[in-house]
């Protein structure tokens, strides 16, 4: 292997061998049962007083073998399983999976289905960011935003419930389109939600954006440069907050995102505060997309012509979408039978979590909490 590669030169990945017990060092275990690790993440911290010398993530406590299950279910049967990965953005997971299989089958969902898909996915992005905002603020010690965001997230979940009967793991889409026609008044519900929700974003911002303690706690915390993000494969709002203007919805439009006019919010410093601003701005952009989509829903069928028994030809496809947390990819290999030969999920949280060590070194314990929060990981997706 050739040495001194440019990708490595700016990353400090080596952990020098040291005696395990050092009088100056304190090794503590954060998790797997810890209020701030958003599930069952275990972080082993090496501390000098309050300063973090290094950390290692131990994951897998929620491993359910989703990829193995995928090989033993038919294409249709596996669809609800993907909802259980990133359970706060189940609709995005479903969209990615359905589009991948559609690509494998070489079919395309009809326009009406595409529009409804975009609306539901963007609603889901808002819900995911709301949950992130609430829990992130809670980690930093502001307990009130949590309840505000959950109050408003409830409205989105109500729309889901009316649409498909489920609130969290929705299983909203089918391969080839939608299972359900939208209910009467769906558009009106979505419009009502948008009108209700826009002032609420201002409300969140009032609580946090100029709050001095919030700014002090988040600015210059967990800085990561755009270059490091790319080298580590970090995507989503974390990448954008570091100043890289890259969003799969624009870069390689899937569904019918190319029909909509929206901006990609980016940050400059790549710190926790910027990531907060980027996600809040993304909520506003999602509102913009939904506004356009809900006005333009065409009439027509909701399902493409998909055989009852799905048997794609032999082949393999990688398809990825911009999930709320970053690039969510599916790699599906078909051997011509009714079951996928191999399903691989490229989870954004899993890859983003790698950056934790890089972002936390030299910071304080309290910052580790802030950074775990700002990475917006969902352990169901990290461990699958």
């Amino acid at each position: 292997m050739t040495e001194s590669d440019s990708a490595l030169s700016h990353l400090d990945l080596e952990t020098p061998e040291k005696p395990f017990l050092d009088a100056n060092e304190l090794v503590i275990n954060m998790g797997p049962q810890h209020p701030a690790t958003h599930g069952v993440l275990r972080v082993i911290l090496r501390l000098d007083g309050e300063k973090v010398l290094g950390l290692e993530c131990v994951i897998g406590y929620l491993h359910r073998g989703v990829e193995k299950i995928g090989e033993h279910r038919t294409y249709t049967m596996f669809n609800p399983y993907v909802d259980r990965m990133d359970y706060v953005a189940a609709v995005s997971n479903g969209l990615g999976y359905c589009e991948t299989i559609e690509k494998l089958l070489n079919v395309e969902a009809p326009p009406r289905a595409q529009y409804v898909r975009v609306i539901l996915t963007e609603l889901n992005r808002i819900a995911s960011h709301q949950l992130w905002l609430g829990t992130h603020a809670l980690d930093i010690g502001a307990i009130t935003p949590l309840f505000y965001t959950f109050r408003d997230r409830e409205e989105i979940l109500k729309i889901y419930e009316k649409y498909c009967g489920a609130r969290l793991t929705t299983h909203a889409f089918r391969i080839g389109g939608l299972q359900y026609e939208t209910y009467a008044g769906f558009e009106q519900d979505v419009r009502n939600f948008l009108n209700f929700f826009l002032p609420k974003i201002d409300e969140y911002e009032e609580l946090l954006t100029t709050n001095r303690i919030w700014v002090e706690r988040t600015r210059n915390v967990g800085i990561i440069s755009g270059k490091d993000c790319i080298a580590l494969g970090v995507t989503g709002p974390v990448l954008r907050a570091s100043g890289v203007k890259w969003d799969l919805r624009k870069a390689q439009p899937y569904a019918n995102y190319k029909n909509f006019d929206f901006d990609i919010p980016i940050g400059q410093n790549g710190d926790t505060y910027d990531r907060y601003l980027v996600r809040v701005a993304e909520m506003r952009q999602s509102v913009r997309i939904i506004e356009q989509a809900v006005e333009a829903i065409p009439e027509g069928p909701i399902m493409a012509k998909v055989p009852k028994v799905i048997k794609p030809a032999v082949g393999e496809v990688y398809h990825s979408i911009e999930a709320p947390k970053g690039e969510l990819g599916y790699f599906v290999v078909s051997d011509g039978s009714t079951q996928p030969y191999r399903v691989r999920v490229r989870p954004p949280s899993f890859v983003n979590l790698q950056a934790l060590d890089k972002m936390c070194r030299g910071q304080l314990v309290a910052d580790v909490i802030a950074v775990i929060g700002t990475l917006d990981i969902v352990l169901g997706e990290v461990d699958r």
């Binding site: 990708a7 990945l13 897998g60 090989e71 580590l232 191999r342 899993f350 890859v351 979590l353």
Partner: protein, 158 residues
């Protein structure tokens, strides 16, 4: 780009397309060099995913593939290579630091080792676990009963 690569590596490279997606089938021996070239000369600076597929009936039962993306070209490419059981691959952590966990997961699930990886151990399954679950000869209900009994103190996890 493919033509250029073919020019320099000859018959070791096979360019394929399926469903509008390009992927190249590469000989195992070309792997470290080719990835370097893709990273440094062809600007594939983002390693999206590393994974493997198991075909137990083949001579070389494992497909290992790298999904790469270039921000400059807005292009995706898949590099696939075939290796036999027990064969190792050079780690791409020096090329893309983000490959670290992805390679660990491939090791965890398929038992394919990567040489030069800084911390080659299991990631999702517990350290002492026996077997690599995503191999086709690992039945879906199989578990490391011994590990479960020793570490969890229960008869079975099912």
């Amino acid at each position: 780009m493919i033509a250029k690569l073919k020019g320099s590596y000859g018959s070791g490279i096979q360019a394929l397309t399926y469903a509008g997606q390009n992927y190249i089938l590469v000989d195992r021996s070309l792997i470290p060099d080719l990835l370097h070239v893709l990273r440094n000369e062809e600007q594939f600076d983002y390693c999206v995913d590393i994974t493997a597929v198991h075909y137990p009936n083949r001579d070389k039962p494992f497909d290992v593939l790298w999904v790469l993306y270039s921000f400059a070209r807005n292009e995706r490419i898949r590099v696939t290579t075939q290796i036999s059981d027990g064969e190792t691959l050079p780690s791409s952590v020096p090329i893309w630091p983000g490959a670290n966990w992805l390679e660990r997961e491939v090791y965890d699930m398929f038992g394919i080792k990567f040489d030069g990886h800084p911390d080659m151990k299991r990631i999702l399954l517990p350290d002492g676990w026996k077997g690599h679950p995503l191999r086709k000869d690992y039945p879906i209900l199989q578990q490391d009963t011994e590990w479960v009994q020793i570490n969890l103190g229960i008869e079975s996890g099912q």
